[in-house]
Point group: C2
Chain length 80, copies 2
């Protein structure tokens, strides 16, 4: 089973990496870009058959390690 975790800075938290990418794109004359946010995508291969159990495990991983929940939000997708 595969779990896809996306970790992003919360809205309102300055995303300096996103700002840098936005600036670089503007320098390359991509004028139609209005905003850029950069986050992490973590793909986990799990040895687990139960979807509910997998989701709960991955939630715990996010809370304990993968995301800094003070400044970051996360989403979890589970794929068979």
């Amino acid at each position: 089973m595969k779990a896809i975790v996306n970790v992003f800075l919360k809205p309102g938290v300055l995303d300096s990496q996103g700002k840098a990418v936005h600036h670089a794109l503007s320098s390359l004359h991509f004028e139609n870009v209005k905003d850029v946010r950069v986050g992490k995508q973590i793909v986990l291969q799990l040895d687990e058959e139960n979807i509910e159990k997998a989701k709960k495990d991955v939630e715990t991983m996010c809370e304990e390690l993968l995301a800094n929940t003070v400044i970051e939000d996360y989403t979890i997708e589970i794929e068979k």
Copy 2:
């Protein structure tokens, strides 16, 4: 229009960040994790109505800036 770009190291390229996360998860007793890959997710807000044009633009951005195509693959999703 929103474009979501996922950038990942190609299969076979050592993902040291993924290995570090995997190791840390093992230390936290998440034994059912078999593999971890860490990539970047870049979310672009585009001022563009034409989906085809948006996709082409984002492809060019990936080739020129967002991905290092020697060692990285990327996927693009366009959302209205």
